[in-house]
Amino acid sequence: MRISLTLNGRATTASEVDPNASLLDLLRDDLGQVGSKDACRQGECGSCTVLLDGRLACACLVHAAQADGRSVLTIEGLGPSEGLTDLQQALLDRGAVQCGFCTPGIVVATLHLLERTPRPTEAEVRAALSGNLCRCTGYQSIVDAVLDVAAERSDS
């Protein structure tokens, strides 16, 4: 199976893709983009969260063929070429990164939240994160990092 998509803004083609592959398999195994993590394959943990045509999706639940001709944004495409986004920096400052396995998915999900809802309440942040499991932090530091960024962005 041959699949062409726009990955992080660049036209990308993969050939000989396993017909059973998910978008996550395509990203990790065929395209070598391993920033999106594989932890449950059931859309429960959010470790593989990507933007598919601007909408949040668990890459493990999307068939690779469904991504053909579409635009996919992953953790690899979200940051500036040098340095970190304000959200990534805030996660570090708040101690919201421990093992870090959930972090790429959480960065994608929360940047998406802040684009749509620039000044979320704590309840809105928690609701937006509810599809991303984190086993290390207990979430509060992640929530606080997102609220910090929202406050800083609205001040500037």
Binding site: K37, G95, P104, R135, C136
Partner: protein, 764 residues
């Protein structure tokens, strides 16, 4: 999280709040976890696991797998080059099952193929001829003399009897006596990063393994035995670890991947899927505990009797040590002149149980704290008051006869905790979304619960407890550069950050490099038991001090001055004559030192269960506030407040993370997390069915960190990682009891249990 310690910035040294050293690649998605590793030319490994919990194996035929094009190798127990079994404490677990299956998920054969999908096809093609046997899945039944033995020495994996205080003190007359039975389900570590590694043959005839683990050297020792290789030909290096919590202390892919690599001569990558991860690592021991507590009429404990039965599952893992912890902590951080404790861990046909955060102390805390609340109720005392009357001082003794020692902060933690105001959120405000729609305001009740927990830090009972660090000093125009090399595993807890802080505390360095943890340096012990900052931190400190002394001697030789005349500044060594740049002092000869750090010695328990088995204890107190819909059995957390003595917060940001994350796991055990087994068969081995706390389940945590200083540790620090998980579960259970009047004798608290008890209490 609201934290009330002050944050200090002192040049990245011990005590400064420091961001995770690995944080930048982790937030950028560039950090390589074990499952992200790639090798050109690698084959992919897969494991055939038993679908039965108990069976005799008649024949395993890998022929059909080998006939699939692209399947390169399929191995069984006949192909294990060396010792056919492995294990942390007792080598009782087959590398690959030979004639007997003892749990569902037990590995039977391994396959290497060109792709992961082909490897799975190969596994599916292997023909196994089995005779199913009845599964022995009840720990109490398994230890009856009539039960069929699952291992040659029977099903009692360990039994500890603790006899503390004379028999005459155990009378009942004129005492307040309460009794209760308690049960805990099987919790899983549920780390997100799956078990994974890459094994490669090395030119010396050995094997190299990059793997996610907690303890490189114990992996190596077990691998070497089963591979029939000398240890120096088994090279391990730590790959990125996506959480551990005890579940990576036992082997997973290690021997299997190495066997396939040695047989095929190719690199082998193995990664577990989620269901295989649930089957492929040990779990927290389910437990049944029966307690009788007796106090005088002022509420002072006179004696405790306890019987603790832990389900160890099919193989020993670290069960013997878990049993020791359960026996040691059986009464809690309380003064009690007499105790009789029987702690048993049994072999069954359930999945093997071993290390998980809290390690035996979680189970006892749930039970003894329930008993303390029962006593408070019987005596008409508040839960806090009863605990304060019994809180142990440093001179008091555990039931094992060991003194609690300094700092023994139970009373202080509880007093501080009780001074926090209760949350002002209105009743029911946490019932949002679907729960709010279903709940009637009149059914909502608020409850407050208290618990104090404690646990030993580090390895106990005479274990050769130590860690090793090598520190090298180089210099360039920027100044001194330290390279710290240990085998201690960063599993997300922030150990690499702490090691850098210690180096910056001891040495005036411009930069600190951390060598990847590997077996090229001495044993560090496991990243478990809340021990690594203490023990490896101590080794790093001592190695830094050794290279510092060496550096000062070099300066003295160069400048012809006395050691007392030398001051080491960031920009160079200052002597009475001049400041000498470090590049000049060191020249081309880096200064290097390796040091082994040992905490105080411990001893095994004697036949009466008496002995100084532990070198330190760590404590935390928790207060849970819950709202419960008593009609629907739904529990929502309003707040968890905690006070914890951390000795000294080496990295306050890391301490906060351990506290919040540990509490989240305590919440999981209290309210939702349980591996459900029926006849030894796992019914919920997925993240869809094994429920983990989400951002909507973990409330805001109010944490107060006390730094009381431990007298025998480096920098006065104490273990931090486990105490948050110990008493948080017990506090939530207490809060639900307070809200509903239900007995809550079992965790996780299932809605149907609360509803059933309510309906039962209404029946005539």
């Amino acid at each position: 999280m609201t934290v009330t310690t002050e944050t200090r910035e002192v040049g990245g040294q011990v005590g400064a709040a420091r961001r995770h050293r690995d944080g930048v690649p982790k937030v950028a998605g560039e950090f390589a976890f074990a499952s992200d590793l790639h090798r050109d030319g690698a084959l992919f490994g897969a494991t055939l696991r038993s679908s039965l919990a108990s069976a005799l194996i008649r024949r395993v035929d890998v022929g059909p797998a080998l006939r699939i094009p692209g399947v390169r190798c399929a191995l069984t127990h006949m192909d294990v080059p060396g010792r056919s079994t492995y294990g942390l404490e007792i080598p009782d677990q087959p590398v690959l099952a030979a004639d007997r299956i003892r749990y569902q998920g037990e590995p039977v054969a391994i396959v290497a193929a060109d792709t992961p999908a082909l490897a799975r096809r190969g596994v599916a093609a292997i023909a196994v001829d089995c005779e199913p046997l009845p599964a022995l899945t009840d720990a109490e039944a398994a230890i009856l003399p009539s039960a069929p033995p699952l291992h040659p020495d029977g099903n009692v994996l360990r039994r500890i009897e603790v006899r503390h205080g004379p028999d005459a003190w155990l009378e009942r007359s004129d005492l307040v006596v309460v009794e209760g039975s308690y049960e805990l389900g099987m919790q899983d570590q549920a780390f997100l990063g799956p078990e994974a590694g890459i094994a490669e043959p090395t030119p010396d005839g050995g094997v190299r393994l990059d793997v996610a683990t907690q303890w490189l050297h114990v992996d190596r020792a077990q691998m070497a035995s089963s591979l029939a290789l000398p240890e120096e030909k088994v090279h391990l290096s730590l790959a990125g670890v996506g959480g551990a919590f005890g579940g990576r202390e036992d082997l997973s892919v290690q021997i299997h991947a190495a066997m396939l690599a040695l047989r095929t001569g190719r690199p082998i990558k193995m990664t577990y899927g989620r269901e295989e991860s649930f089957l492929g690592h040990v779990h927290r021991h389910p437990a049944r505990l029966h307690y009788v507590h007796a106090t005088d009429h002022e509420g002072r404990l006179r004696w405790v009797r306890a019987r603790i039965v832990l389900d160890g599952g099919a193989y020993a893992s670290s069960s013997r040590a878990v049993c020791l912890n359960a026996a040691s902590t059986a009464v809690g951080p309380y003064r009690c002149p007499a105790a009789r404790v029987e702690a048993i861990v049994a072999y069954t046909n359930n999945p093997p149980c071993g290390a998980m955060r809290g390690f035996g102390a979680v189970q006892t805390c749930f039970a003894y704290e329930a008993q303390m609340d029962k006593l408070a109720g019987a005596l008409g005392l508040s839960p806090v008051e009863l605990r304060l009357r019994n809180a142990a001082d440093e001179q008091d003794e555990l039931p094992t006869g060991q003194r609690f020692g300094r700092p023994a902060p139970a009373a202080r933690l509880l007093t501080r905790l009780s001074q926090h105001p209760l949350p002002d959120m209105p009743l029911g405000s946490t019932f949002s979304g679907e729960a709010a729609a279903a709940s009637q305001p009149g059914d909502l009740r608020r409850g407050v619960g208290w618990a104090v927990g404690f646990k030993n830090v580090g390895f106990s009972a005479g274990f050769n407890e130590h860690s090793t660090a090598r520190v090298r000093l180089d210099a360039d125009d920027s100044g001194l550069i330290a390279t710290v090399h240990t085998a201690a595993c960063e599993v997300g807890q922030g150990l690499v950050t702490v090691q850098e802080q210690i180096a910056r505390t001891e040495l005036p360095v411009a930069a600190v490099h951390l060598h990847t943890a590997d077996t090229g340096v001495g044993n560090a012990g496991s990243s478990s038991a809340s021990r690594q900052t203490w023990v490896t931190g101590g080794a790093v400190r001592d190695a830094c001090r050794a290279v510092r002394r060496e550096l000062v001697r070099s300066v003295c030789e160069l400048a012809g001055c006395a050691e007392d005349d030398v001051t080491l500044d960031l920009d160079g060594a200052r002597t009475p004559e001049s400041t000498i740049p470090y590049a000049e002092v060191i020249g081309g000869r880096p200064v290097e030192a390796t040091r082994v750090f040992r905490p105080p010695r411990t001893e095994a328990l004697d036949d009466d269960g008496q002995g100084d088995a532990h070198f330190a204890f760590a404590y935390a107190a928790h207060r849970a506030v819950v709202d419960v819909d008593a009609e629907l059995g739904i529990v929502r957390l309003v707040e968890i407040a905690t006070t914890q003595d951390v000795g000294r917060a080496v990295n306050p940001l890391g301490v906060e993370g351990q506290i919040a994350g540990g509490i989240a796991q305590g919440i999981g055990l209290a309210l939702m997390e349980e591996l459900v087994l029926e006849d030894g068969q796992l019914r919920n081995g997925s993240f869809t069915d094994y429920l983990l706390p989400t951002s909507l389940d973990v409330p805001r945590i109010r944490a107060e960190v006390l730094e009381l200083g431990h007298p025998e540790s480096p920098y006065g620090l104490n273990g931090v990682g486990e105490p948050p998980t110990i008493a948080s579960t017990a506090a939530i259970a207490a809060a639900v009891r307070d809200a509903t009047g239900a007995s809550v004798a079992r965790v996780p608290i299932r809605p149907e249990d609360l509803v059933a008890e309510r309906e039962h209490s209404w029946s005539p």
